[in-house]
């Protein structure tokens, strides 16, 4: 069963990631939350998730936690993505396709400036 490519390799990757993460820990925790109720999934939330993960991987961004939530009652605004930076208030974005997700990752997560046009007033 070739389930895990190589545990040795994973151990090595983990050690490196750990060192990098510790160096970064002071910068504050960043959370990205993708809404994945039936409505979100049908509207393309998995592509939004893929886009977020892809951005993290290609830009080598450490210390970001990616989670998901269910339907938050704004089905018509799906896919919905929420961002929490450190102690700041949660910011909720609507109609976040893969492309907008990339913009949010760049402007909000990396540069600290929320993308006003896509923020939902909640």
């Amino acid at each position: 069963m070739p389930a895990i490519k190589s545990l040795e390799e994973l151990k090595r990757v983990r050690e490196e990631a750990l060192q990098k993460k510790q160096a970064k820990a002071a910068a504050g925790n960043i959370q990205v939350i993708v809404a994945m109720g039936t409505c979100g999934i049908a509207a393309g939330a998995r592509d939004t998730m893929k886009s977020v993960l892809n951005y993290i991987e290609t830009n080598n961004l450490s210390g970001i936690s990616v989670t998901q939530t269910g339907c938050i009652g704004l089905c018509e605004q799906e896919p919905i993505l929420q961002v929490i930076v450190g102690e700041e208030h949660k910011i909720t974005y609507g109609k976040v396709n893969a492309e907008i997700a990339q913009q949010i990752m760049k402007q909000h997560i990396q540069n600290g400036v929320p993308l006003k046009d896509h923020v939902l007033p909640i």
Binding site: A3, L7, V13, A17, L61, T67, G70
Partner: protein
């Protein structure tokens, strides 16, 4: 929904919401018997007989944020459109298993879609759940090709390290893709 893999993601969300600790997602493609079978089995809180009847109705949901629950009815419809059916086995306090079957070659059968992304999304979003993914293909000659993934070893080695650290993410993503892609090609032949 445009893919069976998206339905699976959606059904697994129900399992998570039912406070499951172990969730097994399985996909069986049998080209000999022209059958596609998918299932999500959990050890969550399960349902009473009455509730199990009700979840097939789109106007039933346990959520409070919206009044219709479409997950299971949508999958049922997708299965029935391609000469298949949806099966629900559940016991209160024990867990639930949802199975959907499809005639593999049926013109209206939805494509399986991106299984590796569905698996990755679940693994990353719910690290506290023990995930088992099974993808098995029986080709036209009756030979079995399979990708079995149990996240035990992975999590033990990671030792609470987040799967969204870029290098770990890359490792897990490519592991799933490399395991699934060759099988998906088998099934397409």
């Amino acid at each position: 929904m445009r893919e069976i893999a998206l339905h699976l993601l959606d059904i697994a969300e129900n399992s998570v919401a039912a406070q499951s600790r172990n969730i097994c997602m399985a996909v069986y493609e049998n080209l000999q018997s022209d059958l596609l079978l998918v299932s999500v089995a959990d050890d969550g809180r399960g349902m009473s007989e009455k509730t199990a009847q009700q979840v097939l109705d789109p106007f039933y949901t346990t959520r409070t944020t919206r009044k219709v629950g479409l997950g299971i009815p949508l999958l049922k419809l997708a299965a029935e459109m391609s000469e298949g059916e949806l099966n629900l086995i559940t016991e209160q306090g024990k867990g639930t298993k949802v199975t959907a079957s499809f005639r593999h070659s049926h013109i209206d059968r939805m494509p399986l879609g991106d299984l590796s992304m569905t698996f990755l999304t679940l693994l990353i979003s719910y690290p506290h759940i023990h995930w088992v993914f099974i993808y098995q293909i029986t080709d036209r000659l009756g030979q079995i090709h399979e990708f079995n993934f149990d996240d035990c070893e992975l999590k033990e080695t990671l030792d609470n390290m987040s799967m969204t650290e870029p290098s770990i993410l890359k490792f897990v993503r490519s592991m799933l893709e490399e395991g699934i892609k060759p099988l998906a090609l088998q099934a397409a032949n």
